[in-house]
């Protein structure tokens, strides 16, 4: 038994190494001082991060990605919270069909989603634009927000809301003073989810982006056409730092808020 268990543990360690070693190598190589960023490493330097900062195209791509991610998170979470309330708190005909339809963007291949939206726009004779990119990102982040918010909403007992109502609060007041405060962790989680998915997206973005507009992933993709460079590794490291630190930061805030409320 014990022998079998240590095999299982060793297997797990190997799989985790497989998952993280390549990413660790990206981070490691981004500090390589050599001109051609590969092994063997020559020495540590921040020169590639400085080069990033001086690269206008990359700075511009970062601005586009941040704006796109923030707006996507805001819109997607608003739509998702409202729809979750309806799906969890009310019964109505066609509920199963509607909840499936709202999750559908996860199951439709991104390429198909991208082509469909592009075609519709073409029929409307509208050019590719930033708002199109935004709408596209909203539609495929929405299911994730819905799943996260619904899971939390199910666990919030209805008694609290009914108590507020019986004390004379209207439905809107009840939502803002009872439901929303209890739901805040899920709202933040949904926003983070939406932001990260939008920030990382590449396939849909390649279809939808207007000419000359790049997000960070499409910028990396374009740079990869030449070859891998230490600059790309540095950009990757910045992306990893950003998308990994953000949720940790968010979790810390959530814990802080929960602690404050408790005290």
């Amino acid at each position: 038994m014990l022998k079998g268990w240590s095999l299982i543990r060793a297997y797990t360690v190997l799989v985790y190494l497989f998952m993280f070693l390549p990413v660790a190598v990206v981070v490691l190589l981004s500090f390589n001082s050599a001109q051609f960023g590969s092994f063997p490493m020559e020495g540590l330097s921040f020169r590639w991060f400085v080069a990033l900062w001086d690269n206008d195209a990359i700075v511009r791509a970062f601005r586009v990605s941040l704006l796109l991610g923030a707006l996507t998170a805001l819109i997607s979470t608003t739509l998702g919270v409202l729809a979750s309330l309806a799906l969890v708190r009310y019964d109505f005909p066609g509920k199963t069909l509607i909840s499936t339809a709202l999750i559908a963007p996860i199951l439709v291949p991104e390429v198909v989603l991208a082509v469909a939206l592009l075609l519709f726009l073409r029929w409307l004779e509208m050019p590719k634009s930033f708002p199109l990119l935004l709408l596209g990102h909203v539609i495929f982040t929405l299911p994730f927000v819905l799943l996260v918010v619904q899971a939390r909403l199910v666990s919030i007992r209805r008694d609290y809301e009914e108590a507020a109502m019986s004390l004379g609060a209207g439905p809107i007041q009840t939502f803002f003073e009872v439901t929303l405060p209890l739901l805040i962790p899920a709202v933040f989680a949904g926003m983070l989810f939406a932001f990260t998915i939008s920030f990382d997206d590449i396939t849909g973005t390649l279809f939808w982006k207007p000419g000359g507009v790049e997000t960070v992933p499409t910028q990396i993709f374009a740079m990869l056409r030449n070859s891998i460079s230490p600059e790309i590794n540095a950009l990757g490291t910045v992306m990893i730092a950003l998308t990994v630190c953000l949720p940790l930061f968010g979790a810390a805030i959530a814990r802080r808020m929960a602690a404050n409320r408790g005290g």
């Binding site: 190598v25 559908a104 198909v112 082509v115 709408l135 998308t243």
Partner: protein
């Protein structure tokens, strides 16, 4: 409050999301269907109406059939590898009593937060001609010349497995975690060995999670566009690459529509079979 107002409220709450889905998903997909029957003339104009030309071309030209078969093959191999690689770690995290369990779970979520393009290109650093593996082999004198490890079918599969493995582990973990431990104790007290109780109790009860993980891996792998471009060679194009080529490069919208529909229908059939036997709800459990 009258019942009329009550029954209107959920619809009011859902209307923004439903409007978004209708205009950004349902209507556009209907448009692909309509467009797939249009025709593109040599001059580049689209002719409306009902023409079967594109459908016939896609159905009869072996070029498309081969790439579809290749795509499904890659997706299948990727799914099997993810299941083989992913089940054991999921089992370990679910059953272990070690104090680093939470850390393992957090680490498992980490890849979801790291960009797909970065995780894909990270393999160039490992497998490239001047990558980690080659420099290691050359410096040890095991090989004289760097090996060409990239830009082939295997490196595409490797990239996909690396991308999709966390989905598999998470789904299997969720179903293992949900197993009532009393069942395991019961089977043990009835005389089953560890291995028997795994085969007879744990494994069958974890199948829904394994199925959900497999579905996600298969659908995401079959729809992939980036991995074959970054890690594959010129002969490793997958179906999504065809779609992009038709729509964005050749501007042949009717052909691109047919190709998108083929992909949608094939993967839709996989999802439908899954839904019939397991139920879509299983996937939602990993978000709980």
């Amino acid at each position: 409050m009258d019942t009329g107002e009550r029954s209107a409220r959920p619809w009011l709450l859902m209307s923004p999301a439903l409007t978004a889905i209708a205009f950004l998903l349902v209507i556009p997909v209907c448009f692909i269907i309509v467009y797939s029957f249009w025709l593109r003339t040599a001059t580049g104009a689209d002719v409306g109406g009902i023409h079967l030309d594109n459908w016939i071309e896609v159905a009869t030209d072996p070029f498309y059939r081969d790439i579809l078969a290749f795509t499904l093959k890659i997706a299948f191999i990727t799914t099997v590898l993810c299941a083989l690689l992913g089940y054991v770690p999921a089992y370990f995290i679910a059953m272990t009593r070690m104090k680093h369990r939470t850390l393992l779970l957090i680490l498992l979520m980490l890849p979801f937060w790291i960009s797909y393009i970065i995780r894909t290109m990270s393999w160039i650093n490992i497998l490239g001609v001047s990558g980690a593996l080659n420099s290691f082999l050359v410096s040890l004198g095991i090989v004289g010349e760097p090996l060409q490890l990239l830009y082939n079918e295997a490196s595409v599969i490797l990239g996909l497995v690396h991308f999709l493995l966390p989905f598999m582990i998470l789904n299997v973990f969720v179903s293992l975690e949900g197993i009532d431990r009393n069942l395991l104790d019961a089977s043990r007290s009835l005389g089953a060995t560890d291995f028997q109780s795994f085969l007879e109790v744990t494994l069958p009860l974890s199948l829904p999670g394994l199925a959900a993980g497999s579905l996600l891996c298969f659908v995401l792998a079959a729809g992939t566009y980036i991995t074959p471009i970054v890690l594959g060679g010129p002969r490793d194009a997958m179906f999504a690459n065809l779609v992009f080529e038709a729509i964005v490069t050749q501007l042949n919208w009717p052909l691109g529509s047919v190709l998108s529909l083929v992909l949608l229908v094939v993967l839709g059939a996989v999802v439908a079979v899954y839904n019939r036997f397991v139920g879509i709800g299983q996937i939602a459990k990993s978000f709980g």
